[in-house]
């Protein structure tokens, strides 16, 4: 089974079967255990992982770096296009060609959709998509599913409410796509009309036979087992006044949860958040986003060790 992983590119969550994801999650579980016990095997000693972040990142870059270092690997790279020759006019293709000759694997993030696929076509070494524009963020989706599985004991049969920018947000998009590998009870979207999921995403949900609907936040919170919240960016609205009018409709507060939510509801957020989840939710039983952020390390450790092990 592990033969399917070695040297593999990670471009989209759709590249993975349910069985492969389950295998990854089992590895992540044992990584998490060994992290907690302080006995991580340095399986990647002597390996170099290139972190090519043409776009800024905090969590993804740092958790990949932590994951690599915990496994004994070194990292090289840059964290924004400005500090590289890309700013001087070098193409992404040339930068990737260079990193391919330096490192054993390349993690790439860029604002251009398809940049990770292009990198994978160029590089001989495995390429991991750390986010390409509004399209894919497969490792985030792996972390999200892992967190649901860990906290709810299963991924199938649950009601998922997904809130925020479902059109341009790559984390939300990848999470929706990831659900097509499972059998959720249903998926409820909560978003302004202009930020509904893209047609090609809905097409895949339909093909997978997953029921979905649109609802107001209060109704979605009431029905949900998992509430996946993402940020709505002001700049997505042609008229900023329109944003000011609607932003409150997508804010998850403690009082809303106390009034509507099931006790076992888990609230996820790929972070960073601005004000879409108020801070008074942080110390409730519903909060799962910090667990989710922490899971970034063991899941990425599992992925790196399967690909490079």
């Amino acid at each position: 089974m592990e033969g399917n992983w070695r040297g593999r590119d990670v471009i989209s969550i759709l590249d993975f079967t349910r069985e492969e994801l389950e295998e990854l999650f089992k590895h992540a579980e044992s990584m998490k255990k060994s992290l907690e016990e302080g006995r991580v095997e340095k399986k990647l000693k002597g390996r170099i992982i290139a972190l090519a972040f043409f776009e800024p990142s905090t969590r993804t870059r740092l958790s990949f770096e932590t994951a690599a270092k915990r496994l004994g690997a070194d990292t090289i790279g840059f964290s924004s296009g400005f500090s590289t020759s890309v700013e001087k006019g070098e193409t992404i293709a040339d930068t990737i060609r260079m990193l391919d000759s330096y490192a054993d694997a390349i993690v790439i993030r860029s604002k251009y959709e398809g940049s990770a696929l292009l990198a994978a076509e160029i590089a001989g070494k495995p390429v991991i998509n750390g986010g390409d524009g509004k399209q894919h963020h497969p490792t985030q989706a792996m972390i999200d599913l892992y967190t649901v599985r860990e906290l709810k004991g299963r991924i199938d049969g649950l009601v998922y409410a997904i809130v925020g920018d479902l059109r341009y947000g790559r984390a939300a998009t990848s999470f929706i796509l990831a659900l097509t590998r499972y059998q959720p009870e249903s998926v409820i979207f909560v978003s302004p009309p202009q930020l509904k999921p893209r047609p090609e995403v809905l097409m895949l949900l339909e093909e997978a036979g997953i029921r979905y609907s649109y609802a107001r936040l209060e109704d979605a919170v009431e029905a949900a087992d998992v509430l996946y919240v993402t940020r709505i960016q002001k700049e997505r609205f042609p008229d900023p006044a329109e944003y000011e009018k609607v932003k409150g409709s997508y804010r998850v507060t403690r009082s809303l949860l106390e009034e509507k939510a099931k006790r076992e509801l888990k609230v996820l957020h790929p972070l960073p958040r601005v004000d879409e989840i108020t801070h008074d939710v942080d110390d409730t039983e519903w909060q799962a986003y910090f667990t989710q952020a922490a899971n970034g390390v063991p899941v990425r450790m599992a992925l790196l060790s399967l690909i490079l092990g």
């Binding site: 006019g89 193409t91 992404i92 398809g114 940049s115 696929l117 047609p199």
Partner: protein, 154 residues
């Protein structure tokens, strides 16, 4: 209506009514190239109800041109004529993949990044409608956009 037979060349039959001029435009035929061209528009057809026909003397299509015709006239048949006889007849077929024919409409697709050495690639979306999906960014291109790109018309 009588249009004389051509001796050698190509007859593109069963073109959806109203698209004959688009087929010519796609083939880069303006009338100044020296080919004898006959265009018959909006005639009755058992198969289509109404159809257009394009006859071009001494001009043959390369496979790339046939693929493009399939995109704007999916019902077309291409007849190769030699010495007044149909020596080959084939139904065009919209290709499963398109490389370098269409441009992605998503401005932040990697294929639109200036100077990036990447050729746009599309996969046909299964179904009745003629739609293609960008391999790189997933954007779906509808038939109207395909027509617009290939013929410069709306």
């Amino acid at each position: 209506m009588l249009v004389r037979k051509i001796r050698n060349g190509t007859v593109i039959d069963h073109v959806p009514a109203g698209r004959a001029l688009l087929v010519l435009r796609l083939l880069g035929i303006t009338g100044k190239e020296g080919y004898t061209v006959a265009v018959v528009m909006n005639v009755e057809s058992r198969k289509l109800g109404r159809k257009d026909i394009v006859k071009i003397e001494n001009r043959y299509l390369d496979p790339g041109e046939a693929d493009k015709i399939a995109l704007i006239a999916p019902t077309a048949t291409i007849n190769i004529i030699r010495d007044y006889k149909v020596v080959e007849k084939r139904q065009v077929e919209a290709p499963e993949t398109l490389t370098g024919i269409l441009e992605c409409i998503n401005p932040t697709c990697i294929t639109r990044k200036p100077r990036e050495p990447v050729i746009p690639r599309f996969r046909r979306v299964p179904g009745e409608r003629l739609r293609y999906q960008c391999v790189y960014c997933g954007t779906i291109i509808e038939e109207e956009e395909i027509l617009r790109q290939l013929t410069g018309t709306q």
